[in-house]
Amino acid sequence: MNDVNERRVPFTCTLDCGSRCELVAVVRNGRIARIDTPPGREDTVERPRLVPCTRGRAHRRLQTAEDRLLYPLKRTGLRGSDQFQRISWDEALDVISSNLEQTRANYGAQAILHATGAGSIAGRGLHGAAASRRFFSYWDSVSATIGNQSNHCASMAATWMFGEVISGSDRANLLQSRLILLWGMNPAENRMGPNTEYFIGQARDRGARVILIDPRYTDSGILADEWLPIKPGSDAALAAAMAYVMETENLVDRAFMASKTSGYAAYQRYLLGRDDGLAKTPEWAAPITGIAAERIAELAREYASQRPAALLAGWGPQRTLYGEQVMRALITLSCMSGNVGLPGGEIASGGTRRGGPPIQGMPSGPKAPLRSLSASSWADEVLAGELDPPIKMAYIVATNLINRSANTNANKKALATMDCVVVHEPFMTPTARHADLVLPICTDLEHTDVVTSWGHDSHLFASQQVVEQAGESRTDYWILSQLAQRLGFGQAYTQGRSEVAWVEALVQSSPIDRQALAADGIWRTDGAPRTALSDYCADPVAHPLGTTSGLIEIENPMAEQYGLPRIPAYLAAHAEASTDEYPLQLLTPHNRLRSNSCLAANPWLQELEQHAVWISAADAKARGIQPWESIEVYNQFGVVRLPAYVTERIMPGVVCVYQGTWHRPVEDGVDEGGCANVLTSHRLTRTGGPTTHTNWVQVRSIAS
């Protein structure tokens, strides 16, 4: 029953959502009639479909969202006043190229900050940060935001302990697990690879026990047999106490530790309190973690005896002040239990890299940025006034910069110090509102690209242009090509190629069958599920790691250079908190209806859930707060006004505001958009990671 007027066009999201899935746009009479999945695909536990989530399913409504940007805009009023005027592409491009040249002439190229993010990722260079990095690599060595706001500390820990960032095992391995610890991990919302949540459900039906270790009973709690609420930032203490039990009850896989790790003796000394006189017993950890000592001991015994057991570490626990210590402790615990290199076991790797599909991106030019500003705390550096040259211009691509980096109010101030701010965006985001020039970008349904899987897989997706670009919206590549032309390096940037020609050239120079990819929409790597570190564990001599010893290193002298202990000891963040004034710990996790702040403009998604502050019934009662009344969450950085979600699903002493909704300050400066980063600090971890889950707030009722 194929309608002759119907086309089914494969495409995929380029979101940094935690997955990458198979999507099809059904086009009738030139319009997108619906979004679907390839319907004929078999779906078995051996070869499951890559089923898209709610975000991907809602693409059609994003396409028709009322506030799509359709024309280039120039600011006519004060920054943030929403006064803009439509201008032509020629005018916009002329103004921007002359601003780039003048800023460079007056202050040097480093006075230009190229800020990028994860608004559009995983294409092969045509869109998002990849397109603009390439642009500046041909133009000049500007300043650039750098830093990994997702899994910085996990990457640091992996580099120290494995010698490189490794990815975890394929999720299908979970079918063999007898125990799965969801340690700060929430696959029901964040996926972390397509089908992670599906395999956990299937594993449980095959007899695996699932334990959720999290300050919140997340939607992933439905997949768990037990919830162990844990105080944010205390994960390394729980790991140490479990390790203490395993060590003192002789439950450690000694053979593994002896042959595959180095430096365990130093951690042993720490656990037993040989140097500080403080044994890291369950009784020691109980008040730190909020988990009863007996339960910690039982958990240690269960984890050590149920083999294979998978420790799936989320990234929330490592976005804390001592996130490096958390990941190091969890990796060490995985090793001690011997659940490394065997199917169904899982090391707490925290990585996503699996090599990717065999295809290159567009090549870079000769010029690298000469100065880097932290993607988390760039505004601090700008506002401190010590940069030489100062940042005079910002060129912002694929990031809602003021919304997604910590301390939104400071970010706005930092942008206000600049002479010229250029933003590429499909929507009038809070960052676009503070720009001088806003350039309308088209959506995933309006461009052509090949897109790699997000992590945990090595698939390649063909993403075809489904419909005409709305209004005068254009791709990042088109805009930067036009600018490159004006600045005299158009040919070098484009090599005379259109986007479609680039995609064809990149695929042609890879082993991937172009016609099969175009017909099917996906190039899939299948085969037996891969197990992390299996080669190394089978023969560590033949397959040494990239560490000094070639072994998994529990003791890391490099850590000392950053002021961290050589071993994965627990460090308390509480000492740095103002707990009297701001007694509640704040969590700012990802939400299933957004990808960071992307999709906050999709009405279908945002109306599904009332954005609110999670507060425990106990904390609400103590403050006289009624369910769903409007309350204020505040600290030294700002104030957010939101309804109260009074719930038994969060630990007392902890509140939660999902990140990613758009900053919307009202007259008194209070944010009624509920942007979580209004409440987060620029403070970095010792190695430069974000600390978005180490913040303290107070909450008040405003009813009276």
Partner: protein, 171 residues
């Protein structure tokens, strides 16, 4: 078992809303109108909260009260067992909506009643319904394909009108 029949596995539903959006998208429904929705049931006390998400849509009941409630016979059972609403006959009086205990019949802004139509277009192509194919957890099934997992059926639904649905739980 009579068909159609819907099987909804509560043990796996994480309330992600993918089925709801997929349904809305396929049916081309306006904002705020849904044929499939998800009820949240939250209870218990910290640290033992209870949370359950329940997918709810028209269950094409045996003794469907929407059928006799309609004054214009716009609500009709098809030969395949599905109940459909003929938009041409509907006068938008809301009687079917008011008769439905599951509150799954919507009145559109244009004043026409509509609800789950069982995806006849999908069935004609030999595909599972949109909601079944949309579930990342594979928690939704048509009644001919029961999941191979330890489950018991849930009898919470008031079934004197014979809703053609089985909710499953862990034993």
């Amino acid at each position: 078992m009579t068909t159609p029949h819907f099987v909804i596995d509560l043990a796996l539903c994480t309330g992600c809303n993918a089925c709801q959006i997929a349904c809305r998208d396929r049916a081309g429904l306006p904002d705020g109108v849904d044929w499939l929705s998800i009820e949240t049931h939250e209870g218990g006390c910290y640290p033992a909260p209870q949370l359950e998400y329940r997918v709810v849509h028209c269950f094409h009941c045996e003794e469907a009260p929407c059928l006799p409630a309609c004054p214009t016979e716009a609500v009709q059972r098809q030969g395949n067992g599905y109940i459909q609403i003929d938009a041409g006959l509907c006068i938008g009086c809301g009687a079917c909506r008011d008769a439905c205990p599951f509150e799954v019949i919507a009145i559109s802004p244009e004043g026409i009643a509509s609800k789950c139509d069982g995806c006849p277009d999908e069935a004609a192509r030999g595909w599972d319904t949109t909601c079944v194919r949309a579930c990342p957890m594979r928690a939704l099934h048509d009644g001919t394909k029961l999941p191979d997992a330890p489950r018991v059926s849930d009898n919470a639904l008031e079934d004197t009108i014979g809703p053609r649905v089985t909710y499953l739980r862990r034993p």
